[in-house]
Subunit: 458 residues, 2 copies
């Protein structure tokens, strides 16, 4: 429990209403997108960088650890207060300082919701490419901490590719500015990108210079339906081999087609083995050619191929895709989102691997995938109240990670490491690399005060 002295100082720093210490309030901040939970010593919501600095200094004085949190939608346990710690919530730092269309830069506070930024940018015909499925709720700071991806990754890259500069409060209470409004340069070495994806264990980000882009002039959304998942993955390979780089190559299997249909009534045929959502963007003049080529490629294997004709149709398709994670809740009470990536050429093998894991462990798995990136999200459906089943699920999760590594892949695509994947990190990295991780952590945070227990143990 926090001492009255600390609570009093916190209230002085951020104001009474921005400190939570009651049981119910604390529990609310103990969850994220996983099935894990913890209980914070207290929750504090700063509204300025100076307040963050004061909080960090106070925690240093009283030897209290802290866990940074955005919207808490992450899928890795990254924001769970798994050790005695306060939660520092950034959801009240929501200013969009500036949208600078001349330089393709927006300057925002970490608590700005991805969607809210997109809405403001759209007014000026710009957008921020990283758009994780959680984008209506998740914050830029959270996206940054986990290095989120999203459907547009294949063409446009992940969050780290859109971070130009950061203001960071270090564990010693000092503030640094990395990068800035310049597109190109990170003199010295790349402090910006060592922070991106570090899940708050090296520093607390209080301001973000993000790279924005003009909205492409044209876009086309297509759907291809297949008898089997393996067929869909062949189309992915064929499109890429033809030298086309779509914005999006999203795959859902039969289970997800059915669960999302229950929700959205988008008209996907419930007997299809898989659907591929393909989107291209660019200049109006080249849309027809791209769509024609993709149509020819897909139609060689797909049982149906269609191009969305109206904005409503496009919306329906995306509503299906974006509701995929939540939609499975109707089937079983609990689900675990997995996140593994393999080289694209191994994608069909990875699909096979998922099916094998489902069979070997006797678990139900639905597959959503950013197929262009080789990034799979196998959703394991189960009942968390059943201890034995839950244990089997954890074993299946581990098997999925090992399968990805066997295929020259990685244990995490875009959901971070957090608590959930921590135990597999040394399967991907050698002891020497693990030691490099630890040394960097120690150089920033020698007392292990920032988000302790996430990514690595010291």
């Amino acid at each position: 429990m926090l001492s009255q002295t600390v609570v009093k100082r916190l209230k002085e720093i951020v104001g009474e209403k921005n400190v939570v210490t009651d049981k119910v309030g604390l529990l609310t901040y103990g969850y994220d997108g996983t099935l894990l939970s913890g209980e914070a010593l207290g929750v504090v919501s700063p509204t300025t960088t100076d307040q963050v600095v004061e909080i960090v200094k106070l925690m240093n004085e009283h030897d209290i650890k802290l866990v940074p949190r955005g919207a808490g939608t992450n899928e890795s346990g990254g924001t769970i207060p798994s050790q005695e710690a306060i939660v520092i919530s950034f959801t009240k730092m929501t200013k969009i300082h500036e949208i600078d269309t001349e330089n393709f830069v927006a300057v925002v506070e970490p608590g700005v919701i991805n969607f809210d930024l997109q809405v403001e940018l759209a007014k000026q015909n710009f957008y921020f490419p990283p758009d994780p499925s959680s984008f209506k709720a998740s914050t830029i700071g959270g996206n940054l901490g986990e290095c989120s991806g999203g459907p547009k990754c294949f063409k446009y890259g992940v969050t780290r590719d859109y971070m130009l500069g950061l203001e960071v409060v270090l564990p010693n209470g000092k503030v640094i500015q990395t990068g800035g409004r310049n597109f190109q340069s990170e003199p010295g070495y790349d402090l910006t990108r060592i922070i991106v994806g570090s899940e708050g264990i090296l520093g607390l980000v209080t301001k973000v210079f993000v790279r924005i882009l003009p909205i492409p002039r044209a876009k086309k959304t297509m759907l291809a339906l297949y008898d089997k998942v393996e067929d869909a993955s062949q189309t992915v390979a064929d499109i890429v081999a033809a030298g086309i780089i779509p914005t999006t190559l999203e795959l859902m299997d039969n289970l997800l087609i059915n669960t999302t249909e229950d929700f959205t009534h988008a008209g996907l045929p419930r007997d299809a083995g898989a659907v591929l959502i393909i989107e291209v963007d660019g200049y109006p003049e080249d849309m027809d050619e791209q769509v024609k080529t993709i149509g020819e490629i897909a139609s060689k294997i797909a049982k149906e191929f269609k191009v969305a004709q109206t904005a409503v149709e496009v919306d329906q398709i995306w509503t299906s895709r974006r509701s995929a994670f939540g939609s499975v809740a109707r089937v079983r009470p609990s689900y675990g989102v997995n996140d593994i990536t393999v080289p694209r050429s191994n994608f069909p093998k990875a699909i096979g691997g998922v099916l094998k894991v489902a069979k070997d462990f006797g678990v139900t798995i639905g597959v959503v995938a950013h197929a262009g990136d080789g990034n799979l999200h196998p959703l394991i459906l189960f009942d968390q109240r059943n201890k034995e089943e839950t244990e089997t699920v954890h074993k299946a999760e581990q098997a999925l990670c090992m399968m990805a590594l066997d295929l020259e892949g990685t244990i995490s695509g875009e959901h971070g490491i957090g608590l959930v994947k921590k135990k597999y990190l040394d399967k991907e990295f050698t002891p020497a690399a693990m030691e490099a991780f630890r040394k960097i952590k120690r150089s920033f945070d020698p007392t292990n005060r920032f988000n302790p227990g996430k990514i690595i143990d010291l």
Copy 2:
């Protein structure tokens, strides 16, 4: 001088012909693209990762520092043996292990010359976007160490955006593998990008997984000629404001037009104040529209606008641009290449700033610029044998860096920090950030053995 014991061991490790200890040989490795020089204790050229490990261990045993070197074309003094050290030359590690077009990946050794990689990739209709002016001589390892840019940066990004994974020999002699064949993920934090741009002070890269892309189907090269440099920079702003992202927006001023004409006879009018080279790529179907829009925008201000009609014309234009640095040698015996970047919206002001520095210090400056990125290369022409003039040039160089910082820019765009810019780094970064740089360096290299004295002093 190296002891006979060390020389003998080095020869055992890499073979007699891969160790240089004679005076003339050593001097050859004492230079880079700057006017600085040093003299190595010895030069050793490993051909395998194991040999690199053995060399590092030997240097640790005998407490000898080492300086990694590719082709030595860098413009920052990054490969100068400025302290007592051996040079470890990577020019004999030139294997292209693999070109994996399915996954858009090539796996290469650090000594592969950028151009040689491009030639091999082109056979399979692929390319590696970063293409610094030095690309016919510079190595992938060197490009990586300095985080090189090139004319295509504006649309395609810099070297860090194309590094997927690295094999790195650490100062403790251990080998780590970061990233790999996957496009998306850097679990843990981003070890790949902390190494990119670190100029060999954190580790020695022995294998590189680079991201490659299919060659765009169509490309158009345009030239716009202006009375004044300021006019050209207005066109840059106007093109970007129209939502067009060209591959290239290169600018040369009157001085460079004339010096390159002496060389290339490309037919650029010698009385033009500036030339803008504009290139777009994409699908054949959208080329006409892009060229038309750019032509309309440029023609509002340019005195002449033309579209290259043949491959020969395109070649001529690029030969001019790529020979810019060397071409000034006819005017004065020495030249210093500067490298500063400002937010694109401040580009016209930066051009004004360069003119002011030239006037204030009474020096001759020619300007080449990647105008889309706001990255300027002011070339100061002088005679190094004249001590007083050389001192004035150094003051002018400092003034250029300070001017860039005043315009919210950075002291280095794509040429690194090395020895040349080290003294300005703390003008861009606060003491807390400088300390973060030092701590990371110490965590990798506590005895300061790898490329000591570059980027930061400990």
